[in-house]
Symmetry: C2
Subunit: 121 residues, 2 copies
Amino acid sequence: MSLYSPGETAEETGFSLDTLRYYEKIGLLPRVHRNASGQRRFSDSDLYWLALLRCLRVTGMPIAEMLTFAELTRDGGDDTFVERMALLKAHDRRIESQIAEMREKQRAIREKIAWYEDNIP
Amino acid sequence: MSLYSPGETAEETGFSLDTLRYYEKIGLLPRVHRNASGQRRFSDSDLYWLALLRCLRVTGMPIAEMLTFAELTRDGGDDTFVERMALLKAHDRRIESQIAEMREKQRAIREKIAWYEDNIP
DNA sequence: CGTTGACCTGGAGTGCACTCCAGGTGCCAA
DNA sequence: TTGGCACCTGGAGTGCACTCCAGGTCAACG
């Protein structure tokens, strides 16, 4: 079990230093361990959690909902497995329909590109 | 060639009345025709253009870039076909990589769901 | 004739998710 | 011992894309 500096963690996870502090501040991250001089030292489990947050964020989950998920995870224990799973499943369905919509719009854009292709003066 | 009220246009395009006015104000839409009492009457070509804007927006193109595209379309004539096409092609590539990233993150989320599934207490 | 309802304007306000800042600490290398 | 770097804090500021508001016009309906 190793520990990571804020810089390493930012590098690893793709979040900025400020975002890491911000996430901790709003409670999206559990209190991060500090070394003797007060600097953050992220654990493997912090990194794992951050990776999951990254997945949720990139796929468009709003912070408020990630917060709900974080709270279930932090305070709930096993009792909230079903609830957490439901939340992720709902999000998965949203991802699916987002991608479907993007594909549909992409088709229209490609038609437009093809039209230009055929009509270059 | 028919004309559409703001309400109909909002309905049709999925943009709100306010957004329609906003887009006209910032120049994303050419000046929209008005009836005798000053109310907007959108044409078929306005609707066509709005549908294209919708595709770009939904797929994540920033307003500033749509504005570039609008300016090329408005002022450029045929001379800008190549440029417009390049802009759309670049956007199409971005859509592609966005979808790829979403799919990748979705996989991780589904693994997490599966893990919960297997570990319901 | 009055009152809806859809629309008009310019400009202010909102929500989200960061991002930046000033002023400070701690530690290491030259 | 002095410079530089990575980090710390609370709080203010930013950018984007709308969204709302007050106060007004207009046309049609009962």
